[in-house]
């Protein structure tokens, strides 16, 4: 079993209302100096067997077609999760 991480973020040119709301809450908690917050998604896909190049290619395809909407989001990372950090 291997786990593959997919990170999806709103495109830079798309307004991110959720990130904006989080950003405006930070100073209330005493966190100052944060210029901007953008909120994305992290998926963890655990696959049978090894994370071969073929498997990674399929995950990339899934990331582009289902996990993200290319109109508003970018897939910024597809990576095998290091066992040590899992």
């Amino acid at each position: 079993m291997a786990t593959i991480v997919v990170h999806v973020m709103p495109k830079p040119e798309i307004l991110d209302p959720q990130g904006k709301a989080v950003g405006s809450a930070l100073p209330r908690l005493g966190f100052e100096g944060v210029a901007q917050v953008r909120q994305g998604r992290r998926f963890e896909l655990t696959v049978d067997g090894e994370a071969t190049d073929e498997v990674l290619a399929k995950v990339r395809e899934a990331a582009e077609t289902l996990l993200s909407n290319p109109v508003i989001e970018d897939v910024v990372e597809v990576a095998v999760l290091d066992e040590a950090t899992a």
């Binding site: 798309i14 209302p17 959720q18 909407n69 109109v71």
Partner: protein, 234 residues
């Protein structure tokens, strides 16, 4: 001939009964279509109603797009069948690429429910023929992910080709680009909008009109438009 208008039910759809009722009040025969069956049951038009298909998990409309019925809807839409996507149905139409752009969370982040004034920008689509271009109508609006977004090239293309079907008037309730409330495809048979015409079809249960409370029935025009078009082409 009574035109058969399919209304698709996904898990989490809310307004399928209202849409079916609107079809009946407009003089059509509503036909229930189920997400898991790849069968359009010989309908002449399709409505994708509002709600929270698949809980809106991932993105609104993202999972509904892959339902077996959608393959048939997409084929039929490419063949010219009138397809109307309301709210969540509009989101499904963008996810399945029948309409460009996408919806993100409302700019103010709140769920909103109000009677909304719209201007009909294009009265030549399959769902707007009974309106006049420039006509203002009042249609209930209720959503949280209603902010229409697309890149500037797409927005310019939509405006240039007259494919902005409806615009918000008076107040933009969700931050949608260029006040866009609804759009159509190149052919004019596929229309998607965030407001809910099926909630403004019966006196006593619609939005407030100038004359009387709850008397607004501007939504009926969407359904009579499609039925008139189908009868004319039959």
């Amino acid at each position: 001939m009574t035109a058969r208008v399919g209304v698709v039910t996904f898990p989490g759809t809310l307004d399928d009964r209202d849409a079916a009722r609107a079809v009946r009040l407009a003089g059509g025969e509503p036909v229930s279509l189920f997400h898991a069956e790849a069968d359009l049951k010989d309908v002449d038009a399709v409505v994708l109603p509002g709600g929270f298909s698949y809980g809106d998990y991932l993105r609104a409309g993202a999972i509904a797009r892959f339902a077996p019925i959608m393959e048939k809807v997409v084929d039929a839409a490419h063949g010219g069948m009138p397809v109307l996507g309301i709210c969540n149905g509009f989101q499904v139409l963008t996810e399945v690429h029948l309409l460009p752009g996408s919806m993100i969370k409302n700019e103010h982040l709140h769920f909103i429910c109000r009677d909304q004034v719209l201007r009909v920008e294009n009265a030549d689509t399959a769902w707007t023929g009974d309106f006049e271009a420039g006509q203002q109508i009042v249609i209930p609006l209720k959503n949280q992910d209603g902010q229409y977004v697309a890149d500037d090239a797409t927005l310019d293309m939509l405006e240039g080709e007259g494919r902005v079907a409806f615009r918000y008037v008076g107040w933009n309730p969700n931050g949608s680009r260029r006040d866009i409330a609804g759009i159509t495809n190149e052919r004019g048979n596929v229309v998607g909008l965030m407001p809910h015409p099926e909630h403004a079809v019966e006196p006593g249960f619609g939005p407030d009109s100038r004359e009387q409370g709850r008397a607004g029935t501007d939504g009926l025009g969407f359904f009579t438009s499609a039925l008139a078009g189908l009868l004319a082409s039959a």
